[in-house]
């Protein structure tokens, strides 16, 4: 069991000062990855190429993993 911290970047950067306890780094990284759709769901998508990322730090504060999701949309005809 170890505590990991999850800093979120979606437009602005929000650093995590509470953290979450997971069995191991792999489980924590999976949760970080799965959180991306959650986060995107809640934010207004206004720009193309909108990016959301979660950087996971271990309990020494060292970044060990980053998950990123990019939302893209493009017109296939002339933009109406």
């Amino acid at each position: 069991m170890a505590r990991y911290f999850f800093d979120v970047s979606n437009g602005g950067d929000v650093s995590d000062d509470v953290g979450l306890v997971f069995d191991d780094a792999h489980t924590a990284s999976q949760e970080a990855l799965r959180s991306l759709p959650d986060m995107v769901k809640d934010q207004p998508l206004t720009r193309m190429g909108e990016k959301v990322s979660v950087t996971m730090r271990d309990d020494h504060g060292i970044p060990v993993y980053r998950a990123t999701l990019t939302i893209e949309g493009e017109w296939l005809t002339r933009q109406p």
Partner: protein, 242 residues
């Protein structure tokens, strides 16, 4: 022992709803034979033999009802606080379609179904109170469906906080604008259909907005009006009486 101080004082008050129960009905509640068990945190509350022949009443601590998927994921359906009867439905549906578990160490009273039936047969006010309990429980599930389906993560959390605060306040477990908050981020995640990482992020947002504070297993509601506004909260569905 005065009714208000007895383990069933909470129950009598709860079942009373809008109007206090007739004295005879209150006495009958006080005279219920009950088995009281203390159950450690994070344990299943199980029925012997898999079929319910008792209803439980939460006397102290927090419990939850849940359903699990075969891959191990879990959906928490409701949280229960002192005074609650989380499995009143088992009186007529003894084969459980959900699991019950403790969140914190809890004191739970088990009342035989036969005794519950006797109570409701003898006292129409109690039969009506059971009906009311089940209907309020259904109303609460409806509110949760709306929340799960249509609120965003920040609103879902705010809505749950509003609900839990009012329910705890009704049984005297709040202290001013603060209340015990034994739920962990993973519990919120399992109740609200979110990942714990996102819950963590949204709790931080609510704290930074000055709406709530969360420390030492207590929730402080710094701005009730703002919390209700975030949640789009209407307490009607709880049908609480002051």
């Amino acid at each position: 022992m005065a009714l208000s101080k007895s383990p069933f004082g909470l129950l009598a008050r709860r079942l009373g709803g809008d109007a206090p129960l007739p004295v005879a009905a209150e006495r009958a509640i006080l005279g219920l034979p009950l088995i009281i068990r203390t159950i450690e945190a994070s344990r299943d509350i199980k029925y012997e033999g898999g079929t319910a022949d008792h209803c439980c009443v939460i006397l102290d601590g927090w419990t939850c009802c849940y359903q699990s998927l075969t891959d191990g994921r879990c959906q928490i359906l409701s949280f229960h606080v002192p005074g609650d009867l989380p499995d009143l439905q088992s009186l007529y549906l003894p084969s459980p379609d959900l699991g019950m578990a403790t969140v914190t160490r809890s004191i739970v009273a088990f009342v035989p179904h036969a005794e519950m039936r006797k109570l409701s047969d003898q006292y129409p006010a109690i039969a009506q109170a059971f009906w009311r309990e089940v209907l309020v429980s259904a109303a609460t599930h409806r509110a949760w469906i709306t929340s799960l389906g249509r609120r965003d993560a920040r609103q879902k959390l705010a809505h749950l906080f509003c609900e839990l605060y009012l329910r705890l306040k009704a049984v005297g477990f709040t202290d001013g604008n603060s209340m015990p908050m034994p739920l962990r981020q993973t519990d919120f995640a399992d109740a609200l259909g979110l990942t714990s990482v996102h819950v963590n992020r949204m709790l931080k947002t609510l704290r930074e907005e000055g709406v709530i504070d969360l420390y030492a297993r207590r929730l402080v509601i710094s701005d009730w009006e703002a919390l209700c506004a975030v949640a789009d909260f209407n307490p009607k569905y709880l049908h609480l009486t002051d």
